[in-house]
Symmetry: C2
Subunit: 161 residues, 2 copies
C-alpha cells in the first residue's frame, strides 16, 4: 500500500520491481502447491476474521468438533485423524484447555495418552460456531457452483490421499 | 501407531474412541476448508521430505523463485505478491539470507524497505530445485488426469480470489 510504483533505477543491471502488476511469477502459477497455499491462506484469513470475537482458528474448531463428536478420544488418535503432528495437536489442546473448552482425563485404554471431552462451555461454543462456519464456507465458495464445490472437494481428496 | 484399537470402557457414558475407523468426523468432510487444509498438509509434507537434503520449505522456494525472476523486488512488494504478512516474509528472507542465498540491498525507491537479489549460490539452488519441484508436482497430481489438474488449479483460483 505504501510502496511507490514509479519505475526505478537499476540494481545489478536489472530494473527494480515495485509494483505487483510488473511481477514475473515464473513457474509458480503452474504449480498445484502454490494455488493450494494461496487458497488456504485466503480461507484461513476469512475464517479467523469472521471468528475474531470468538478467537478461534480453523484448527481449533476442527479439533473441538471432533472431540464433541467423539468424547473420550485420545490425543494421539485425534492427531492421526486430523493428520497433524502430535506436538501440534498438544498445542491446540493446550489452547482449548486454557479456555476451559476441553478437559483432559486419564485414558482408560492408553496410560501414555489423555482422553478428551468438551466442557459444557465447549459444547455451547461448537453449537454457536456451526452456523458461522456454514456462512464462512458459503462465502469462500461464492465463486463456485454447487457442482464445482463438490468437484473441488473430490479433487482435493485425490491430492490428499 | 502405538495406540490400542480394542473397544474401551465408558467415559461419561460415551464409549472411548481409539481407532481411526470409528471416528465420527461430523460436518468436517462437507467443508472445503477442511479438505484444503488436508491437501495442503499432504503436499507440504511431500515437498519438505523430497527437499530434506536441501532443507528448503515451499514458502522459501516460492520467495527465492520470485526474487530470482524479479531481482531488486522489495520485501513489501514480495509480501503482497505472495499474499502473506510482511512479518512472515521477513522471517523467510532472514532464513534465506542466513544461508547466503539472498542478499538485502538498500532499496533505491523505498528507504523503508530492502531490494532483494539472489546470490550466485541462490541462483544455483533454484536451478537445482526446479526439476525436483516438477517431480514433486507430478507425484502430488498422480491421482489426477491432466484435465483434473487444470480444473483443480482453476477452482483454487476461484476460491483464492
Amino acid at each position: 500500500m505504501d510502496e511507490k510504483t514509479i519505475s526505478a533505477p537499476l540494481i545489478n543491471g536489472s530494473q527494480t520491481n515495485d509494483s505487483e502488476a510488473e511481477i514475473d511469477f515464473d513457474i509458480l502459477p503452474t504449480l498445484i502447491g502454490y494455488h493450494l497455499r494461496r487458497a488456504q491462506i485466503s480461507v484461513f484469513n476469512d475464517f479467523v476474521k469472521m471468528m475474531s470475537e470468538l478467537q478461534i482458528t480453523p484448527g481449533q474448531f476442527g479439533v473441538a468438533l471432533l472431540i464433541n463428536a467423539n468424547p473420550g478420544l485420545t490425543q494421539s488418535a485425534l492427531a492421526r485423524a486430523v493428520g497433524i503432528e502430535r506436538s501440534t495437536m498438544v498445542a491446540v489442546i493446550d489452547a482449548l484447555e486454557s479456555r476451559s473448552l476441553v478437559e483432559r482425563r486419564p485414558s482408560p485404554v492408553d496410560r501414555r495418552s489423555y482422553a478428551l471431552i468438551l466442557s459444557e462451555q465447549g459444547k455451547q461454543l461448537i453449537e454457536k460456531l456451526k452456523p458461522m462456519v456454514a456462512t464462512h464456507e458459503d462465502r469462500i465458495a461464492s465463486n463456485l457452483s454447487d457442482e464445482e464445490r463438490a468437484q473441488l472437494i473430490s479433487l482435493l481428496c485425490k491430492v490428499a490421499d
